[in-house]
Symmetry: C2
Subunit: 278 residues, 2 copies
Amino acid sequence: MRTIAKHSAARDLNDDCAVLELGTETLILTHDTMVEGVHFLPGQSGEDLAWKLVASNMSDLAAKGAMPLGVLLAYQLGSDDADFLRGLEASLQHFGAVLLGGDTVSANGPRSLGLTAIGTATHCPVPSRAGAKPGHGLWITGPVGAALIGFEALKTSSGDSSFYRRGQALLTEGQALAPLVSAMMDVSDGLLLDARRMAEASRVTIAIDRNAVPIATPEQRRDEALTWGEDYQLLFTAPADAALPCPVHRIGTVRERGPEPLLLDGVAPTGKLGFEHG
Amino acid sequence: MRTIAKHSAARDLNDDCAVLELGTETLILTHDTMVEGVHFLPGQSGEDLAWKLVASNMSDLAAKGAMPLGVLLAYQLGSDDADFLRGLEASLQHFGAVLLGGDTVSANGPRSLGLTAIGTATHCPVPSRAGAKPGHGLWITGPVGAALIGFEALKTSSGDSSFYRRGQALLTEGQALAPLVSAMMDVSDGLLLDARRMAEASRVTIAIDRNAVPIATPEQRRDEALTWGEDYQLLFTAPADAALPCPVHRIGTVRERGPEPLLLDGVAPTGKLGFEHG
């Protein structure tokens, strides 16, 4: 939403979610679109696509500590609609959301699939990526790189591709962490890119200890694991002595904003930090 | 959402909107997707597209008597993004909604644009298309065929195309009518098609008096006006003696369900009734 943000009076459009206070409730709203050939492989099974579409939106809700209510689907009819519906049902059931409605269209060309997810906040203020404070610690809920290994398994048809095809959204962890964190987001586009986004939004510098990051790849592929996305782990900051309610990994520290927003072992990382959306 | 409805436990997916009760509020949610070459002309101005996308969703809210809160945009970057943003700002301001968030993607191929609109109900129960009762009258808020005339003006670059390019959503009328109607929907796909959908959803027969329908076209094009969409007039049923709060046109009567769901001057209409989505 970067393009739009510059031209609109609406708030915090760089965040993945919108927060809407309504009576006594606080709603969390998010929308993800996936385009064939950009966000998924041409020919990938409809069941996989549905799961990915749901999981990526649920992960946005997880990072807000939200409880899912339901989804609206924007579906472009394709060749494997029955597969898609099977994956949609399975994933919605898995994450505890219901299909509320949406729109179905016929079209030629690459398929474009959209999902709007709606949840309610379980804790206010709702965590955002903009709250990281100097002196706080930086944690991640689990290893990065699992989706990378799964993606390669799918492309080569050898090995276990489930970490790529059946991404998890850490809704329970997000709800447990929400009252304790100063900033939180999901790592959907690569740890380094997302950490830099958190640093920019919070106007701080985030320093990551490269070897402290848990990875699901062999050690020699550590750099790839740190820049690949779609693992949907939660990245968050909290006071260094916070009593955290679930297994997490301390991977860095928040500092006053210096010349660089992101440091990896004390140096600004160069090259591709993650998956940059259009 | 017909395809999905068969496979899902969620309710009333054939309706254009989802109704979600949340604490003391009732939310109305709707999502429309428009695909280049299907829902809009290739090359049509981004400003027009933005307006149409917003107006069509706002019209869905209008039919529920809802007050708009905001929208989430799924935007595929194209060649006229600045135009699109101009139209988006103008239309959101016009209809009283704000941009809450969304997703922007880059992709090749025909553009696909989606919008989720969120509103709050001003009257409960929220009007649906399924409530028409035998003996009730059928009304429409204004003429059909204006968008058809505007579309032709745009294609031929002669005459006033504003009724096509700047569709109105009758939010004020919808809110005023909501407490009085037994069924309501917007006429977005053609009067005859939408009236049949109302009859099917309500399990009644709807009888329309052909010459009572106000039209914006010359008389010899009456049949086209009755099957063209995008005028966003509100079609509703109410007790025959209802004191209606805004200027409306009585165009028919609800009957017990007979062999045909829709009668035009006593006969089931044949041929194309409107714009059938994929």
